[in-house]
């Protein structure tokens, strides 16, 4: 069973008590009424889907009920750390964010396939 550290309950609890809440640190535009449809689409629908380190929102819905943020590896499912909502994105020592160079993208591997 996967154990997730809840920063509000200050202990590791079973994954059964948690619910995933999508990407963390998505800044909502302050001028929502003025932005174009493309910019809104970028903010609202488009996510990076990285391979490796990702920062996500999680909710301890069957525990304290609070939202918090967690750094997780999308390949190994390992939770590096979790921290309270509103705190800045932390550095994870020894782990780098995936880039276009480290991820096998469709364009790089299959782009020319017919």
């Amino acid at each position: 069973m996967l154990l997730i550290y809840c920063p509000y309950c200050e202990e590791e609890r079973s994954e059964l008590e948690f619910r995933h809440g999508g990407d963390a640190h998505i800044a909502r535009p302050t001028n929502m009424a003025d932005i174009s449809d493309e910019e809104f689409q970028e903010f609202f629908f488009l996510r990076d889907n990285p391979k490796g380190l990702i920062f996500e929102r999680w909710r301890h819905i069957h525990g304290c009920g609070r939202f918090f943020n967690a750094a997780r590896d999308t390949v190994s499912d390992k939770f590096y750390m979790s921290y309270k909502a509103g705190e800045p994105k932390p550095d994870i020592p020894g782990v780098t964010t995936a880039t276009e160079k480290t991820v096998e993208t469709y364009e790089a591997t299959e782009g020319t396939a017919k």
Binding site: Y8, G65, R66
Partner: protein
Amino acid sequence: MADQALRKAPLAGRHGGSSGARVTPADPATRLALRAGPDAIGTLSLAFGLELPQRPKTSASVSGRHALWLGPDEWLLIDENGADLMGIASGVSALHSATDVSHRNTAILVSGPDAAAAIAAACPLDLGKSVFPVGAAARTVLGKIEIVLLRTGEEDYRVECWRSFSSYAFGMLVEGAEDAGL
């Protein structure tokens, strides 16, 4: 035809368990879902006559009235003597939110040397003495439902669940008690 609807407790007449863990429906109680910011905690504690706990997984109990920490600004208050908790809350002017959930919840008491094992059959929470001592409380899951668990004694637990799920919870705990007794 009866002129008046009779109130029937959701688990009336149910009993079960094993020689190691008794599973019994708890008596009706009044309950309050309480939410308040840090400035109101002092005033509310004074009004309810017990210190609202502020540490995770803790509770406070004074003569049949319990306050369970559910979240950083959220508590479940239970009064086994049926005191009017809403009446008390309405007399507090400090900003807070109180909802009467007396009839939304019902409780099941699990007691005996195998009580922890009976609950652990469906609950992922660590019930070890060092991390879940007497007085510890937590909202967690039991099988497919959400419960609030309170450890009232060394071998006694109170399982609070929603009344519509109570027959599932009861059945699950009875199965757990029987398995623990094998």
